[in-house]
Structures are given as C-alpha cells and as structure tokens.
Amino acid sequence: MKKRINLFSQRIAPKKIVNYYKVLKKIFSFLIIFLIISNLALSGVLFILDNHKKNINKNILSFQSYISQFDNLASDISSFIYRYNLFEGFTQEDLNSNAYLSYLTDFLNNSRITVELKNFSLNTNKETSFSLEFLNYEDAILFTQYLEKESGKANLEFLKLDSFSLDFSGSDTYSLNFSTKFERITNDSI
C-alpha cells in the first residue's frame, strides 16, 4: 500500500496536550466551584421554600377551620342576600305615586292661581294624565301662560293639552285635561 504524506497536517505534541489539559482543568475547577456554590444556594432556597410552604399549609388549615365554624352563618347570610336582592328588585317596581302627585301639586301651588286638581293618573312608564278645574276663564288663561313659562323647568318630558271644556251647569267651570310623562323622581324613603 502506498503511504501518503500530508504536508499540511500537524500532530499535537504531548506537551501541547498537557498545556490544553491545564487550561481545561482550570475551567473545570472554576465550574466545579461555581456549581457547588450554586447547588448549595439552590438547596438553601429549596429548604426555605419548603419551610414557607409548611407554614402556609398550616395557615391555610387554620383559616379553613375558622371559616368552617361559621358555615351556618354563611348559609343564613347567603339566604339574606338572595332575598334582600329580590326585595330590592321588587321595590323598583313601585310607582312611588306620592312623589309624583306631590311634585304636581307643588307645581300647581307655585302658580298662585286658584286651580283644583280633579283627576290624576300614573302608570309604570310614568305616563300621566291630569285634569284641572278653574272657576273663571282668566285663571285658566293665566295658568296656560304659567305653563308656557314654567313647564320647561319642570321635571316633565313633554306636556300636552288634550282637551279644554266648559261646564255651564251651576257655576261656570273651565276644565283643562293634560297628558305628560314625568322624568324619574328618585325617592330615598323606604
């Protein structure tokens, strides 16, 4: 067999290998020290975490046992809240008609015109109709002027004069029938 010589190849001399080994030893030694310190630190952290976990588990058990002492109370409270919320919902369904009637009578009284409220009706949509009676024509006219001036400030979405009537039987009376829709009046009373 023909032997070939590779002129570019270099053999590593044993001395060079020993030098490489020295460098590698230094690196390995440094790594060992680093890893020992790291492992000790990690073991410490693990030990501390384990202790914390044990403490937390103890706390959790004691909290759970404290809370379970009040299971009956919690059930009563749950029942209270369920019913209270239902009740609160039901109270929203009330018309609160007194507030709207008072609002209207105050509005009429502020006119300082002799006027009598004859009818008043209110439904859940706050749609209202009411009839007013005047003893003379002048008061009726003055009142319509008062309405034109003040109704914008009132708590009403609109105000419509539905009809106007005269009653000549006995004393003359003038009736005005209105329809309107109140804006919601909040009432804090129970």
């Binding site: 590593i12 080994y21 390995f28 693990l46 109370l73 209270f80 039901f90 009598e116 008043f120 009706s121």
Partner: protein
C-alpha cells in the same frame, strides 16, 4: 489541519484528573438541573399556596366581620324578609294581608280582581278601587308598602279628587320569593345600609 491522536491524548499527563473533574462537573450540572427544577416547582406551588392563603385570610376577615355584625341578628333579618316576601304564597296569606292593610289604613278593601297580565310566579297583581276622605286616602298611600305586614307595590294608579272624597283605582302587587336553588360558595358581605334598611322596615311591619 490539526490531527488528533487519541492514544497520545489518553496517555498524556493529567488526563485522568481531567476526566475526574469532567465527570464531577457533569454530576454537579445534573444536580444543579434537578435542584433548579425543584426550586422552580416549589416556587410555583408556593405562589399558588400563598395566593390561596391570602384569599382565605381575606375570607376569614370577612367571616369575622359578618359574625361580629350579624351573628345575633341574621335570623331576625331573615324573618323580616320572610314576612315581606314569603317563600310560599297562598290565598289565605293574601286575604290576611288585605285585612291588615284595611285595618291599618282605615280604608275598606272589598272588591278586587286578579290582574292576570301582570301576575307571574313571584308576584300577584290585583286591581281594585278604594275611596275615603282625602286624609284617609293620603294615609293609605303613605303606608301601603308595609302596613299589611308584607311588601306591597303599586304599579298603576288613578285618582279622582272631590272636596269630601277621594277615589283611587289601583293595581297592587304582592310578592313571594322561592328559595334559592344554589348557594354561592363565596363569602358574601352584608353592608350596614342593608341592615339599617331592614331594621327600619321591621319597625313598620
């Protein structure tokens, strides 16, 4: 090109020490990996447990507050609510409520009819008319909500005013509350406003 001669590498001085150090390194790296994973897992479970503990601590505080506030009185508040919106509805309860309302307000309540359109499982609406002196009717409308011994609302009303007499046609609703089928597992809080309101209502029943 550098050519390695493994035989010479193995035989070279310091190889065995290097091998030992390398092996030790590998062992330490394996240990480091194991410990790092354990720390990570423990830290994760520690975080979860800590959150759970904080949540339980808050719950325990809420329970303590609830106990301080309600332990002696919750049953009476529940009784008040049971009176306002009873769990079960029946004809006799309704008659009794109307009799009480009539007795408390002085306004006779005789003829009434069920408003089917507005009646549901949890409420019954009645249509009827009342009449009386203006002050008596005013008293009725100031006290109707609780005067019967249970909660009543009015959903529609129509007044007719005379000097001597006021007439009112109204739709009046009585409520009932079926028991809750599921109970919340969360700690629930009753606030002071709710308690004050129930205590105030209890005085009106």
């Amino acid at each position: 090109m550098t050519q390695f001669n493994f035989k010479e590498m193995f035989k070279a001085r310091g190889f065995k020490q290097l091998l030992l150090l390398g092996t030790l390194n590998l062992v330490l790296i394996a240990l480091f990996s194991y410990l790092a994973i354990r720390v990570y897992e423990n830290y994760s479970s520690y975080t979860v447990l800590n959150t759970q503990k904080e949540s339980l601590k808050q719950n325990a505080l809420l329970v303590k507050n609830n106990a301080d506030l309600l332990q002696d009185s919750i049953l009476s508040y529940n009784n008040t609510l049971e009176r306002l919106i009873p769990t079960e509805e029946n004809y006799f309860r309704i008659i009794s409520a109307f009799e009480n309302l009539s007795a408390q307000t002085g306004i006779p309540i005789n003829d009434y009819s069920i408003n089917i359109d507005q009646t549901t499982d949890s409420k019954i609406t009645f249509d009827f008319s009342i009449e009386g002196a203006p002050l008596a009717i005013e008293k009725f409308f100031n006290t109707y909500k609780y005067a019967s011994g249970r909660y009543i609302s009015i959903s529609q009303v129509s007044f007719s005013f005379d000097e001597e007499k006021t007439t009112a046609s109204l739709s009046l609703t009585l409520y009932n509350s079926p028991k809750a089928t599921t109970q919340s597992t969360d700690i629930q809080i009753v606030n002071k406003n709710q308690i004050e309101k129930i205590e105030e209502i209890a005085t009106l029943l």
